[in-house]
Subunit: 207 residues, 2 copies
Amino acid sequence: MTASPAEPKPLTRIQTKNRAAILDAGLEVFSTYGFRGSTLDQIATAAGLSKPNLLYYFPSKEAIHAELLTGLLATWLDPLKLMQADGDPVTELLGYVRRKLEMSRQFPRESRLFANEILQGAPRIEAALSGELKELVDAKAEVIRGWAAEGKIADVHPHHLIFSIWSLTQHYADFDVQIRAVLGKEDPFEGAGAYLDVLFAKILTPE
Amino acid sequence: MTASPAEPKPLTRIQTKNRAAILDAGLEVFSTYGFRGSTLDQIATAAGLSKPNLLYYFPSKEAIHAELLTGLLATWLDPLKLMQADGDPVTELLGYVRRKLEMSRQFPRESRLFANEILQGAPRIEAALSGELKELVDAKAEVIRGWAAEGKIADVHPHHLIFSIWSLTQHYADFDVQIRAVLGKEDPFEGAGAYLDVLFAKILTPE
DNA sequence: CGTTGCTTTGACCGGTTGGTAAAATAATCT
DNA sequence: AGATTATTTTACCAACCGGTCAAAGCAACG
C-alpha cells in the first residue's frame, strides 16, 4: 500500500552526507564570490568531491544556489516573525535586534550570501522580496506604528526602523573584514552588542 | 628641453574619452557582478568597444578594477576627512551622516563596488583598510572621544558610531533593490534623510 | 556468494574566458 | 599631400567553464 503518485523517497546515508557537504561548500563559495563568480570546480573541491560527482547530487550550479537561497529566506524572516504585537514594545524590538546580531555572529556566510544576491540586483529572489518579505515587513511595520500611536515608543518611521535594524546588524557580518581591519584586536561583536542596545533604546524611548 | 626621465605624456582626445567610457562601464559591471563575475566582453560592450580595443587602453581586467578601486578610496574617505575637530560636534557628525547619505544617493555604483570588494574579503584593498583607512578612522575616533569627554555629545563608542554611520547610509545604496521592493512607490532617500537625522540626533544628545 | 542499485570516475564537448599578434584603418602633423 | 602615429579590427590561442556520458567501483541485501 502506501500508494499515491509521489513517494518522497528516503535519502541514503551517503546522499545525506554529500548533499550537506555540497550545500556547505556552496554556501562558502557563493557567499564569497557571488553566483557568477563561483565555479563548480571550486564548490566540488571545497566539498571534497569531483565535479561530475557533485553533479550527480545536484542537476546544476543553479540548483545548488537556489536550494541555498530558499533555505535562507526562512531563516532570514524568522527573527522578525518572533516579534510579537502583545509583548512589551521596547523588549520586543530590542529582542529582534539581539537575535539579528546573533545571526550575524553565528551565520556570517548566510548573511553574505544574501548580501551578494541583493547587490547583484536580486535576480533570483525578486519575487520573494516584493511578496513574502514585503508582506511580513508591512505587517510588522503596522504593529510598530500601533505602538508609536499608543505612545509606548517614540514616533519613528516603522519601515526605516526595520531597515536600520537590518543594516546595523548585518553590517557586522558583511563588512567583517573592514571592521576587523579598523578595530585591530578588539572583538567587533562585543562592542556592537552594547552599542546597538544603547542606540535602539535611545531611538525608541518616547520623548 | 623639459628633460627628466619620465614625461607624463598627455592623453589624446580619444584616449581621454575611451578611458572614461571604459572606467564607467567597468564600474557598472564590477559593481553588479564583482570582479570574478564580470567579463571583459561585458565591459567592452557596455563601453561601446570591442574587447581587443578595450585591452588597447588597459593592459588587463585587473588594471581596470585596480584603477576604479584606488580612485574610489579617496572619494570614500573624503566625507570623513571633512569632519573637523573645532566645529560644533553634533553639527559636524550630522554633516558627515548627510554627506555619506548623499553619496549613497548620487553614487550607488561606487558604494556597491566597495561592498562587493569587502564581501569578497577585500583581497585587493586589504592594505589600504588596515593602513590609510584605519589611521583616519582612529584619528577621527579620537576627536569623537574628546567631544564625549567634554560632555558635548553622549558617551558612545566612537568606532561603532562611525561603523553605524557607514552601515546606515551605505545600506540605502547597497540594498536598494530590497528597500524599494518593501517600500513600493515611496522614495527611500526621502524617508531615510529624515529618519537618520532624528536617529543620530537622539544618539548624540548627552543625557 | 551474486546481483542489484547506488556512487564515483575519466574522458570528453561546445562555448566562453582573458589575452595576443598583426594587419587594416583613421587622425594628426609637417 | 605624405609620413607618422594612434586607433580599431580580424583572427586566433590556451585555459577554463558548465555539463554529459558510459564505464568502472562500491555497498547492501537476499
